[in-house]
């Protein structure tokens, strides 16, 4: 068995993502697009050792995608390029986990990060590469499982967004509280039988 690649191996591949993978995807929501995502995924799966038709559940899901999913489709194309890495192909065992990742694991990321950044931005490249290895259950070369998990958490756009959302919720709560405290109704308070 070949040892798992170091993360840099995969991030380098992302940096070299061909421009074609960033072309406009075609779907029900974006009928003018140029790239057939389902065909790209089907080819990829065949190369990963999962030949033949896509599972019934997956068939048509990319083609039917609404316009709102445009970035998800574009991220799927970039991720498909990543998964076409020679090491993954040589292993011949990652077809199903890759399919699961492409079909369900990318949506949270695609809701937060545009597809281009997974090619042009070093941190986002590393995040996508680590997210893939995590989805495959593979520890990157030269790292312990704990180190890999820590690093992924540190990079995670999704986790950062949750923190930000908490902060935003707190700010919103503080604003409401200040408003309420400043209101005429609150200032009228309630009668008290004693002075404090």
């Amino acid at each position: 068995m070949i040892a798992a690649p170091v993360v840099e191996h995969l991030t380098r591949r992302l940096a070299e993502c061909p421009a074609e993978f960033l072309l406009e995807p075609r779907s029900a929501g974006t009928p003018g697009g140029q790239v057939d995502v389902e065909a790209v995924v089907a080819d990829l799966l065949a190369d990963l050792g999962l030949p033949g038709r896509l599972p019934a559940k997956a068939v048509g899901s990319w083609a039917r995608a609404p316009a709102a999913d445009r970035n998800l489709l574009r991220v799927t194309l970039v991720a498909a390029w990543l998964c076409h890495d020679p090491w993954l192909r040589s292993e011949r065992r990652f077809g199903l986990p890759v399919l699961r990742w492409l079909a369900g694991g990318l949506r949270p990321l695609a809701g937060l990060v545009t597809a281009e950044l997974f090619v042009t931005d070093a941190d986002r490249r590393e995040e996508l590469a680590r997210a893939l290895l995590d989805a495959l259950g593979v520890t990157p070369g030269g790292e312990s499982r704990a180190q890999a998990a820590d690093r992924l958490r540190a990079l995670s756009s999704v986790e950062r967004a949750l923190v930000l959302r908490d902060t935003r919720a707190q700010a919103e709560r503080a604003r409401k509280l200040r408003e309420q405290m400043a209101s005429e109704r609150a200032a009228q308070a309630a009668a008290r039988y004693s002075s404090e």
Partner: protein, 464 residues
Amino acid sequence: MDLDAARQLFPLVTVEGLRGLERIRQHPSAPRFTHLIGDHVRAEDLHAVDAFRGALASAPPQPRGGPPPPVLEWVSRMRARVPRWRALIPEGSALERDWARLPTLRREDVAAHVEELVPEDEPLERLIVYETSGTTGHALRVPHHPLAVALTHALAERALAWHGLEVLQGPGAVACMNLRAQASVWVYPSLFSVWRGAGFARLNLVPHAWPDGLAAARRFVEALAPGFLSGDPISLAELLRLEVPARPAALFSTAVALAAPLGAALSARFGCPVIDWYSTTETGPVACTRPGGEGMALLAPDLYVEILDQEGLPVPEGARGEIAVTGGRNPYLPLLRYRTGDFARLLWAPREGGTLEPRLVDLEGRAAVVFRAEDGSPVSPVDVGRALRHRFAVVQHAFEQRADGSCLAVLRPAGGVPLDPAQVEAELRALFGPLARIEVRTDPDLGAGEKVVPYRSAFPAASG
């Protein structure tokens, strides 16, 4: 006022209750009411008050030696809901073991971080606000809840019961009047649903608060015959001086320390007990005098009271220190080792039957101070604080009146905000009289490194 309008302020008001309210409002000797203030008590609140009465009757007195398990469990639950507590108490703290090392909070924390002290999931719809008098040097706006106010009624009942007395209740009765003697204060009638629709009035014992001067105050109090009266010692001293013909079942002396001679004079004049009442806006009522022991008995089992040294460590039993309170019933301001700024000793004294009762002894820190205007009339520190802070960006102040009547105000202006001493002087002259001798100085270092005494007066404070 019709019933529907009244229910905006008093959700549970009845026709009879409204008639009682109108009797107070429309009385021929009524003061110049500046507001009409509701109690905002709902039916479910009355159930909570009843439950609280039950808890008061059955709860054991606060034990010695650290917070009892219900307090620890409460802190643990509140930690999950109060952002500031989470930041201050590390995850996994053993509360019982680490109690003495838990952080303390104080007025300044409420002033600076109130958003982080309100439980994050507490609905805000019923939030009300009290501004504290600020006689300790900083005014403070405290978020509060009508239910928390309603619950304190059960504590007044408890204090009266210790004297064998009951609250005068029911529509048409006037349960209580609260007295002030200040240049400017809200004067209002109200109703208390907790006391079955009995009436209430806040009065100001200064001539300009009445259409017919203070003679009207005498007639009004006599005619409405309130069940008990409350007020700070200065207001109660005015009650004596003005010879108001009141016949209360009890007097509650609040806000600042009551001098023993004044308490005795009030008790003799009105033929009733004078209950020295220790309560702050942030904590609610904490303790009051109770026959059969020195000092003040703790009132509420939902407040854990401890005495701390400067570092926040509990002092040995009986030693003097700052009163700190944990718990409370205000859902918008749960208290964690909240330092009140008041100092006392805490003792456990035996009562008949052998039970030990915790008592606050030698309470200090809110010494009564009264100033005198040119014409000899009292000037409250609350008015001075307001004059200094409402128009001017003052961070700290120290105001002193000397035996010759002259005044010195030392002010620490907020950084970068210009302060014109002549304008401050004019504000103070409006309180003390046009010819009063008033000097205003600024000191950017006031309060740096030492505790400022915000009010000092050479005049005796309401000695009766």
